[in-house]
């Protein structure tokens, strides 16, 4: 078994003629948390869209679990074991919490025990059971994020892509959300996340990737990136070296 669950190899992609990713490369270790950081416009979210088949990769390749998956359809990637929690609010506001969860299992095989998996997720996150019949629009920001993560887990993915999990959440909820990610890692799920809150994210991560203008600048252990003075400079003397 290879040690890396995902390899992004020299990919180029963007919107129209404008490329955002200009030869981005990095690896995601199996069973670990890897965080992608970088200044605005570095291509952090774009790289997720490219990996998940939402944005065409024009050059380079994406390898997941030993097989090439470049430009595969999201549906196929879900079936192979990648799930993606996009940035912002991603619930169907007028459906109930339970139905929102259920839709996360759309790509599940016929023999998958969806009801059983929902049951065990509700066991783990009691809020989901308590609010199962409520419209998703009535949930707080933190509850919605929890619902999104739980929904992403329904297919029992090998790799989870999470874009900005902490955005819009209170410090307490950020802590809780990061705690859930650590639990997932302990259960063997590999996690790749993008975070604005670089310092906090790197503190719970095993590895870090620093992107700038669509290229990989640094790829190293999370601790090494936290200690790297160049990273502080990249953020204009900001978050990492500071606080």
């Amino acid at each position: 078994m290879e040690t890396d669950i995902l390899a992004v190899e020299d990919i180029v992609g963007g919107y129209g003629k404008q490329t955002v990713l200009n030869g981005t490369s990095f690896r995601v270790a199996r069973g670990a948390i890897t965080t992608v950081i970088g200044p605005n416009g570095a291509g952090k979210s774009t790289v997720f869209k490219a990996v998940f088949g939402l944005l065409r990769v024009q050059r380079g390749r994406v390898v997941f679990d030993g097989r090439e998956v470049t430009n595969l359809d999201p549906r196929r990637l879900l079936e192979l074991g990648i799930s993606y929690v996009p940035q912002g609010r991603n619930v169907f506001p007028e459906l109930t919490v339970l139905h929102n969860l259920e839709l996360g299992a759309t790509a599940a095989g016929r023999d998958a025990n969806v009801a059983g998996r929902i049951e065990s997720l509700m066991e783990r996150f009691p809020m989901l059971r308590r609010k199962a019949g409520a419209q998703a629009s009535t949930l707080s920001g933190g509850e919605q994020k929890l619902l999104e993560i739980a929904r992403g887990l329904l297919l029992e993915p090998k790799l989870m892509l999470i874009d900005e999990p902490s955005i819009g959440l209170s410090p307490l909820l950020v802590k809780e959300t990061f705690g859930i990610l650590q639990d997932l890692r302990a259960k063997g799920v590999s996690i790749l996340m993008v975070e604005q809150n670089a310092k906090r994210a790197l503190e719970i991560s095993d590895f870090g990737v620093v992107l700038e203008l669509g290229r990989t600048r640094i790829e190293a252990a999370a601790g090494a990136i936290l200690a790297d003075p160049r990273v502080g400079q990249l953020f204009l003397g900001g978050h990492i070296a500071g606080s």
């Binding site: 998940f52 999201p74 996009p86 619930v91 169907f92 459906l95 790509a107």
Partner: protein
């Protein structure tokens, strides 16, 4: 309205969509020599094909890429095309359309009630109930709602978005065909039928709330009641102005509609 939700399609030809299926049936009888029940089936099938599939493939999909406004204009053009097409190639005068049920009147508690109206109400109520059940009670229905509420997210979860949108167009086509078969025996089949129907339906939807099926039904009822009261107690001459008057009042006072919810727009 369903179309608006799933595909951001505002169809200004919706009234003509109700006018046309009756002519499919009449044409099937006149030129195809089919019996009335067979012609209804054929008309229904042709409606699904033309007003569902072809409308989506040939009009909505190529045009929506350029924005909602070009699509709106295209549906207005389509309305004119359908109207004039029927006038040129079938008939300019009102055509009798057979009713699939008894047309007698009943005496109920001293009032005269036409069986026909009862049938219309019953079938319409049944259709709405079936639609609501399908949308809320089945997985496919909920996937359609999900596609309507957040298509980008639906795609991320592996919901076959394209197929859900197609279902929406087919359901819409099926419903307009049904409506056509229900109202044509009363109003007769005429190429101009779409004008009033489209206006009334559109106003009903806005008055009730554009994003709620319940709202549109309530809006339709309100419109009907107000319309008849004005005709009875004020003057029938003002009748045609009623929908427009209601429309202006609602837009001024309650722009989201009576039962509608305010749509959040994210930037």
């Amino acid at each position: 309205m369903l179309l608006w939700q799933t595909s951001q399609t505002i169809n200004f030809a919706q009234g003509e969509f109700v006018m046309l299926p009756a002519f499919f049936v009449l044409a099937a009888m006149k030129f195809g020599g089919l019996s009335f029940p067979m012609a209804m089936l054929a008309g229904f099938a042709v409606s699904l094909l033309v007003l569902g599939l072809l409308f989506k493939r040939l009009v909505v999909e190529p045009v929506i890429r350029h924005g909602v406004l070009p699509l709106v204009i295209s549906t207005i053009a389509l309305a004119i095309l359908m109207k004039e097409g029927v006038k040129e190639f079938y008939a300019a005068d009102a055509q009798p359309f057979p009713a699939a049920w008894a047309t007698t009147n009943l005496q109920v508690a001293g009032m005269v009630v036409s069986v026909q109206n009862l049938v219309i109400i019953a079938v319409a109520a049944l259709a709405v109930a079936a639609l609501q059940y399908f949308l809320a009670g089945t997985r496919t229905g909920r996937s359609m709602q999900a596609t309507a509420q957040n298509p980008a997210l639906a795609r991320v979860l592996g919901i076959p978005v394209g197929r859900m949108v197609l279902y929406t167009f087919l359901i819409n086509a099926g419903l307009v065909a049904l409506a056509s078969f229900l109202v044509s025996p009363i109003y007769l089949a005429k190429f101009t039928n779409g004008e009033t129907l489209g206006l009334v339906a559109f106003v009903a939807a806005i008055v009730g709330g554009f994003n709620q099926v319940r709202g549109a039904i309530a809006g339709g009822l309100l419109l009907g009641v107000v319309d008849n009261f004005v005709a009875a107690y004020l003057s029938a001459q003002y009748r045609a102005a009623i929908p427009l008057f209601l429309l202006i009042a609602v837009i001024l006072l309650r722009p989201q509609g009576l039962l509608g919810r305010v749509e959040e727009r994210t930037v």
